[in-house]
Amino acid sequence: MSHQLHAGPTEASPRVRFSPLARRHLIQKVAFALLWLAGGSAVAALLAVVGYVLVQGIGAINVDFFLSPPRGGLAGEGGISTTIITTVYLVLLTLCVATPLGVGAGVFLVEYTGEMQGQSGLIPRLVALARFGVETLAGVPSIIFGLFGYALFVSALGFGFSLLSAGLAGACLILPVVIRTTEEALLAVPRSYREASLALGTTQWQTVSGVVLPAALPGIMTGVVLSVGRIVSETAVFYVTLGGSSRAPTSLFHSGRTMALHVFYLATETNAFQKAMATGTVLIVSIMLINAVINYLTGRFTVR
């Protein structure tokens, strides 16, 4: 009789079939509670980190903190004005280098060689190798990019510890991010767009630049803003390529320090724990703003 009752949806999994309804409901409740616990503790951990930094740092924040440069010394006197300037410079420089390269590489991999996947021959092999390279670079720890930048830009090319070295190394760091988000954005553009455009007799470049890229723009922008966040929060790469001077850089070949780097120096080399936390607060708030921009862009992207 019970066979008959429970046949149907549970028929596929014989282990469940014989368990009484009450027991299955209990298991469901326990599983649900555990999932809630996991989600809740993740959020709690996040709030704890953000909250602790905010509470510790908010006291040191005032207008003077934003407008005065770090004065250095063991006490970590001064504000963060020059580190904000350096961060902005570095973000702009990195984007100028990485965006054209990354978007170009993404377009190449999807629009021009996307059909080659799985084929044999030299060119498809090279393209597959490039894909593997992008995937590998995306998982490489940032200190490796730092070492690379230190060996190539700082030492071999003689740029020294400078904005230029750091910008180029940072561009290498975010290049995989930009390429992959560009690829994903392009793949999300319906095939019919391309077919419709090509059917009008356009060349492939006209299709890509006039139809596909505009449609994929919000997704590409998301990747770019994502990499802004990456640069703002990065320390390892700039620790070994940017030098760490607390003065505002006035040329590409000047050393500097970003906000994240300033937090690291303050926390490891001075007693100014509150200043480090205050800088951390500014960092967290700017990252939140960047994330809000990403959410806005992805919202627009998926609604379309």
Partner: protein, 78 residues
């Protein structure tokens, strides 16, 4: 990089502090990344080369991990 500030960076294998084996988690240690980041600022010559070698070890490890992840994904697809 974040770990450098809290892991202690001493160049020993992590070992239990007393008879309780769980205290191994209280031991100081140094990661590959930490090794590079801590010493690169004053390394020259052979020392610097050794740090680059550390980078190669780290890179190879990442390549192996990524390739196995790729294999796993591909295995699922088929």
């Amino acid at each position: 990089m974040a770990m450098i500030m809290v892991i202690g960076n001493s160049i020993v294998l992590p070992q239990p502090l007393n008879s309780n084996p769980l205290t191994i988690f209280l031991s100081q240690a140094r990661t590959l990344t930490g090794n590079i980041a801590v010493e690169i600022s004053y390394a020259t010559g052979l020392h610097e080369d050794a740090l680059f070698a550390t980078g190669i070890v780290l890179f190879v490890m990442i390549m192996i991990i990524n390739s196995s992840a790729n294999l796993l994904i591909r295995g699922r697809r088929r």
